[in-house]
């Protein structure tokens, strides 16, 4: 009896949902079903609307219509346009989806306009933004985008000899007798640690040193203990740390405890963890022209330059910001959307909270890299 009643309820609910979906369909579903632009697209009667329409088509991977809408499409192919947006190599960009687009007008006349178009991408590693200055032209009352195509630099054919170290590890086997020797784990230590109270919770900032002569895979966890001795929370650094540390390498870390106020905290237990791993000492990545500016928007900008001969698919910039006394004020990081090609600088921008901007007097930046095996130029 109960089963029959449940079946009846589910049938009725399905019917109601079908009716709702038919009468008030999701705009993207209408678009995909060939039902016209629905409410996703608006008439390209303003530069902002034209850019937003392009953003919608990119988000829906409607490459053909997005490409057709460009004013300067004769200058490049549709494939080049797609590769510009999805990446030429395996990289964070090739695994990203466009979340939204924001448009900031820069200049406009009767038949042309310039806007700053910011594409907000999201990935499994977190979001990243990309801003392009876009020129638009007006044709018969309809605005069209002159797409500023990013052309991937061509690396000249060459042989780059690489003879950096590689460490391999052989652990003791499971069949070894009790008490048999095994290789000791890496010796790491926290060289700086500082809790910071902010509106969004408590942050534990610091730096971790690999004090050994072997490479280490590291992470840092922290436990907040309240004044009554109870545990307020346990969190790890997750992606705000460089997990692979070569000998004597230092990484910053940032651990976030949401919904906790520092006044509740009596003590903090730090748990640095390190595992001996096989690793290679390359690639070497230069971090060039780092410039910190507090105004108008607090950011650290710079360039990454891969000195090795291999393409770096994923790069993560991590910066530690210090006050005039050398205390850690903030730790921030950004993933780089594009792959790093050999000897080819790539720009990066690391944001800093506005309220901390004036306290910062120096910074230290590192870059963590990852390239799956078999990925070549």
């Amino acid at each position: 009896m109960k089963g029959a009643l449940l079946a009846l309820v589910m049938t009725a609910a399905t019917g109601v949902l079908l009716a709702i979906g038919t009468i008030w369909p999701v705009p993207s579903a209408v678009y995909y079903a060939g039902g016209g632009k629905g409410t996703l697209l608006s008439a390209a009667s303003t530069p902002e609307a034209a850019v937003q329409n392009l953003g919608v088509r990119i988000r829906l991977h409607d490459w053909q219509r997005a490409y057709s809408s460009l004013a300067n499409k004769a200058q490049f192919t549709e494939d080049a346009f797609i590769h510009d947006l999805t990446g030429y190599n395996l990289s964070l960009r090739s695994q990203a989806s466009l979340d939204s687009v924001t448009v900031r007008p820069l200049h406009q006349s009767a038949d042309s306009a310039d806007v700053a178009m910011t594409l907000h991408w999201f990935t499994v590693m977190g979001p990243f933004d990309e801003t392009r200055n876009v020129h638009l032209v007006e044709n018969d009352g309809r605005w069209q985008v002159d797409w500023p195509l990013y052309k991937q630099p061509t690396v000249p054919p060459q042989v780059i000899p690489v003879n950096y170290l590689r460490w391999d590890v052989i652990y003791s086997g499971s069949a070894d007798q009790w008490g048999a020797q095994d290789v000791a784990g890496p010796n790491v230590r926290i060289v700086d640690m500082r809790p910071v109270n902010r509106a969004e919770g408590v942050y534990v900032l610091g730096e971790l040193l690999n004090n050994d002569v072997v490479p280490a895979w590291v992470t840092v966890r922290a436990t907040l203990v309240g004044k009554d001795g109870k545990i307020l929370g346990r969190e790890g650094a997750f992606d705000m740390i460089s997990h692979r540390l070569l000998p004597k390498e230092v990484t910053p870390f940032r651990i976030h405890f949401p919904n906790v106020d520092l006044s509740q905290v009596a003590s903090i237990r730090m748990h640095p963890e390190a595992i001996l791993i096989s690793a290679s000492a390359d690639p070497v990545v230069e971090i060039l022209n780092q410039k910190y500016s507090a105004l108008p928007i607090a950011t650290l900008t710079g360039q990454l330059s891969d000195q090795s001969g291999q393409t770096v698919s994923f790069a993560h910039v991590l910066s530690t910001f210090y006050d005039s006394n050398g205390n850690v004020v903030w730790v921030s990081g950004r993933f780089i959307g594009r792959a790093l090609l050999p000897q080819t600088p790539v720009n990066f921008t690391v944001p800093v909270p506005e309220d901390l901007a004036r306290r910062i007097t120096s910074e230290r930046t590192i870059v963590a890299t990852y390239s799956p095996k078999g990925v070549t130029l």
Binding site: Q177, V191, V213, E363, I366
Partner: protein
């Protein structure tokens, strides 16, 4: 005497007393027998009987002719611990206790050497712990001299001799002032076990670099990087070069290769270039571009 042993003895006395009065059945158990040794138990009485022995992880039963010794061949009783023996015949029985002790001759040493890797010139930095076992993996708890010998790749060796307590002997050693792999050997009664301890260089000492112009860039190169004992710091150790100028900074982490770190990087004229490795800072250079 353990509580269990007291209980068993009390139970033995309680159940055996009426039987002993009958004087029909008797066995003379040894108080101790070494693991793996043969056991001979003289019995009295007549006819056939059954000898049952129960101990740690073992239970055996043998038919015996009463009045002659009951024997258990060598290698049968091998787990050290307390055993209960019961001789029975018909409704008569006698219970006794005996102990199987570890064999006196060591067979294996479980040698725990920690750590497997440590910086040079560290006092009491190496610990060695030995557990002495007989051939049946019984911990030999009787005191026994154990020698520890730490031989570095260069320099004199260190030797310590300790006496085990309850089967365990331990010591601490210093790491040598020179890097290399040290052989750490523990010996007891002709048995030895060897471990390898890597004695590695410490933090860089007197880190210094030079800068020369090369094609519009600065070629930065360290002197051979050594620790405070003069050992070369291992290749792969990261050295950080930082160029700082008014409002800007460039950094690069370079692993040591053949004792030196070098890189060519664009540096603004007037910049200050510094070098560091871990928490050790080196010299600074004011770069004029020439």
């Amino acid at each position: 005497m353990t509580l269990g042993r007291k209980f068993l003895l009390a139970a033995s006395a309680l159940f055996s007393a009426p039987l002993l009065l009958a004087q029909s059945l008797r066995m003379n158990l040894p108080a101790q027998v070494a693991a793996g040794s043969a056991l001979s138990v003289p019995t009295s009485g007549s006819g056939q009987g059954t000898l049952t022995i129960v101990g740690p992880g073992q239970a055996i039963r043998r038919q015996v002719r009463l009045g002659s010794p009951a024997s258990v061949p060598a290698g049968v009783l091998y787990n050290a611990g307390e055993y209960v023996a019961m001789l029975s015949s018909g409704s008569d029985s006698q219970i006794g206790l005996f102990e199987v002790t570890p064999a006196p001759q060591p067979s294996t040493l479980s040698f725990l050497a920690e750590p497997s890797r440590l910086p040079v010139d560290l006092q009491d930095g190496i610990s060695g712990t030995v557990y002495v076992f007989d051939v049946y993996h019984n911990l030999i708890v009787s005191p026994m001299p154990v020698s520890f010998d730490l031989t570095a790749s260069s320099g004199p060796s260190q030797t310590r001799t300790v006496t085990t307590r309850y089967g365990v002997g331990w010591t601490r050693m210093n790491s040598a002032p020179r890097e290399g792999s040290a052989q750490f050997v523990a010996r007891a009664a002709g048995i030895s076990s060897t471990r390898v301890v890597d004695e590695v260089p410490g933090d860089p000492c007197n880190l210094s670099m030079t800068a020369t112009p090369v094609g519009g860039k600065a070629k930065l190169q360290t002197a051979p990087v050594r620790d405070c004992s003069g050992n070369p710091v291992p290749d792969g150790t990261v050295v950080t070069f930082t160029a700082t100028w008014n409002g800007g900074q460039s950094t690069v982490d370079v692993p040591l290769k053949r004792d030196i770190a070098q890189v060519e990087m664009p540096v603004h004229p007037g910049a200050t270039i510094s070098v560091a490795s871990g928490v050790v800072a080196g010299n600074e250079i004011h770069w004029s571009g020439r």
